[in-house]
Symmetry: C2
Subunit: 437 residues, 2 copies
């Protein structure tokens, strides 16, 4: 039930009330973890603390961290705090190797989750009159069902297409008059490409809102998405361990993502030392969900790099703080000759160059004892037909721009449009051939 | 909210009350179609009738039929009776050719649908303690989300795996302690096969309930499924035009499917003449949904062949009539030398022969002016290694059994296990090569 131009009144809760609620919830969740999850009881006992030691928000630093490996080691239900009969849903994260990370939900967890995603959609203007096409995987991935339930709750007409069959997807957009979409940015750019092949003018579709998530993307990609579909593009952040999407989301300002402070306790820590960092300092996002019944994780290390943008009230009126869009994911970070490189930095540079198309790939090789980084870049069609001289000029431009951003020598291969693999879900941008040696 | 051993009290509504409710609803739905869908107003005017002419259940025969072609011709929203802003969901049937059949739902339609599928699941014993693994496609196919929402409503732990990745699916069954599954019968048999390859004993899984639908299957297949997984196998019937699954379902008796009489008006008609047939007479199932707000279809020709099993109260206590399991789908019917053959008849015969494996294919060819039907049959491993003489004896057995059932000469090819294609969704059993001439 909307509350004015907000989905829930908690979005504009006065800061002192919000703080009170957060303290209450933090104590509740710590008690829950301690009483019902042997893993946490043991850890807290080893650290010499009990739930009584957690009285204020600042006390969170006394609590143990939880890592992705902890989740894997406790597969499938080791961190669950309720009787199995209370669980109503299982999701799994797309584990690249080893055991998957299982997340579990009670009925109330789902209710909270639906409302958090609904807050996000309502915040960017999705209403019951909208036609919401959900172009991400359903089933075990949280992105599909997470957005599906929320858009339905708002009363939008949900078109649950999932990924794949891009031509048909485009046809449905036309036939159903789709006004809002949810996709990974790379799949959206792929859709635009197919539309061009089919002669469908994506700028003339009734689309007005795009939610893009599951991979970090930059403001330069935003410009491309907004131009391609003539819509407003919003950054969506979430992870299955924190329910799924709906953890943080851009408001109409498109400047930072509101993180739902009544449901998540936010910290930024130094990835090496685990020390809490202050406002504006870049580090790893650490989240403690404050309302999760089924799996009350404490100080979860997301591996995502960002910073807190400060607590100034946003012009949208929401009292929940903002984080900067994800700068990189620790999992995606490449170390080349001792220097940390995020694919999102490369994306940021490339998407700002008009000659460069929408697709690229990063290849890391080892030449003797030296790491080499090569960025394969698709050119726009109209550029590629140019003279050889031009070609070499563009290549130098790209190389210089990348080297300036990354502080490292980079090889650049210009390739024809359509050369590189396309993705319907999360794009796999990095090919690290060093591992195969 | 369960009502004793029933999900909803309507399941055991006394017949006179049920009849009263049905008449009221029929009049409501006819009025709705007439007032809001130009297609029906035009048709009814041409037939010289108005909603006032529909006063009793028997008056349904005065109404026009609706066909699959009508749905296609009115793609996408021509038959929708509400403002588009009232729609909250779109599904589509897997149209094999031409335009897809779009179905639309209001919030109330979804609520009714969820409860109908929940009735079915609750009827066969699914409870909040169960782990329900949903092994069918999500997204636009109604089978996935239809069962998902209903199992969740009951409070079971839903594992939304979808199809594909059969080895992992098996691992989840083991790891999560899956007690109930939903799949097509052919995918279930495929899972059993993969389990054998991996050395997983499917009889020792905690499975106890199986819901099988989306393709017609026989009692002989039931025996195989029940033995393979040591569970009780129930037949699920539905179609997207009638919301999806949850139209009719077997109760614990496993003898006929209760069709929810408060939501669907059932007729059996002669497929040629459209004349209503009586109890026990085989014909085409025609359904009029009595509660659909978004798309109030009148007398929808399902193309499915079955018969009404009579109105004797079932030992389960439900007052809703039963239909026999689907004998064949008009769409699947093959005409060979003037004789109608349903793949389900062939399945029925083969699954009763112990030498025969779980997979077969029907190939139709034209030899000059003569149609030929060849059934390719996978043998069980242990049989195939036998002597040539034995081999020929089995082939003759299969041939004789098929000819007895179909009244037509049939070629039989015995093939090794693993030769024929496997399916994760609806099996494609028939390869009609005549069409390619």
């Amino acid at each position: 039930m909307p509350f004015g131009s907000y989905w829930q009144r908690e979005e504009i809760m006065p800061l002192n009330q919000l703080e009170e609620l957060r303290v209450k919830r933090l104590r509740w969740v710590v008690r829950r973890a301690y009483d019902n999850v042997p893993f946490y009881r043991k850890k807290m006992r080893e650290m010499g603390i009990t739930p009584h030691d957690i009285r204020r928000i600042d006390d969170v630093v006394k609590l143990p961290f939880t890592t992705k490996d902890d989740l894997r080691a406790n597969y499938p239900f080791g961190l669950v705090a309720v009787d199995k009969s209370e669980l109503v849903r299982i999701h799994m994260s797309s584990g690249t190797s080893g055991k998957p990370k299982v997340v579990a939900y009670t009925e109330r967890d789902l209710e909270n989750w639906i409302n958090m995603v609904a807050r996000c959609l309502y915040m960017i203007g999705v209403r019951k009159e909208d036609v919401f096409q959900n172009l991400v995987s359903y089933t075990l991935f949280t992105g599909g069902l997470g957005f599906h339930y929320a858009a339905e709750r708002i009363g939008a007409m949900v078109v649950p297409t999932g990924t794949g069959n891009t031509e048909k997807q485009l046809q449905y957009m036309v036939d159903f008059g789709t006004t809002a979409i949810h996709a990974t940015p790379s799949y959206a750019l792929r859709i635009k490409e197919v539309a061009e092949e089919k002669g469908i003018d994506t700028q003339n579709l009734p689309l007005r809102i795009g939610c893009f998530g599951a991979e970090p993307w930059s403001d330069n990609t935003r410009k491309r998405l907004e131009e391609a579909f003539d819509l407003k593009a919003f950054d969506s952040y979430g992870l299955s361990e924190m329910n799924g999407p709906g953890v943080a989301f851009e408001c109409e300002e498109q400047n930072g993502l509101h993180i739902w402070h009544d449901h998540y306790l936010v910290e930024i820590v130094d990835p090496e030392t685990g020390e809490q960092l202050g406002e504006g300092e870049k580090g790893e996002l650490v989240l403690t969900p404050l309302t999760k019944e089924a799996m009350p994780l404490l100080r979860y290390r997301t591996g995502d790099i960002t910073y807190l943008m400060g607590f100034d009230r946003c012009s949208c009126g929401r009292t929940h703080p903002k984080i900067h869009r994800i700068i990189g994911r620790a999992d995606d970070m490449i170390v080349v000759r001792g220097i940390n490189v995020y694919p999102s930095q490369i994306e940021h540079v490339l998407m700002n160059l008009p000659e460069v198309g929408d697709h690229f790939q990063v290849v890391i090789t080892r030449n003797g004892s030296l790491d080499e980084i090569t960025v394969r870049v698709e050119m726009r069609d109209e550029i590629f037909t140019g003279e050889l001289r031009d070609f070499s000029r563009i290549r130098n431009n790209v190389m210089r721009a990348l080297q300036k951003e990354l502080n490292i020598r980079v090889n650049v291969d210009l390739v024809e449009k359509g050369t590189l693999e396309r993705f319907e879900g999360k794009a796999k941008r990095v090919l690290d051939l060093r591992k195969e040696l």
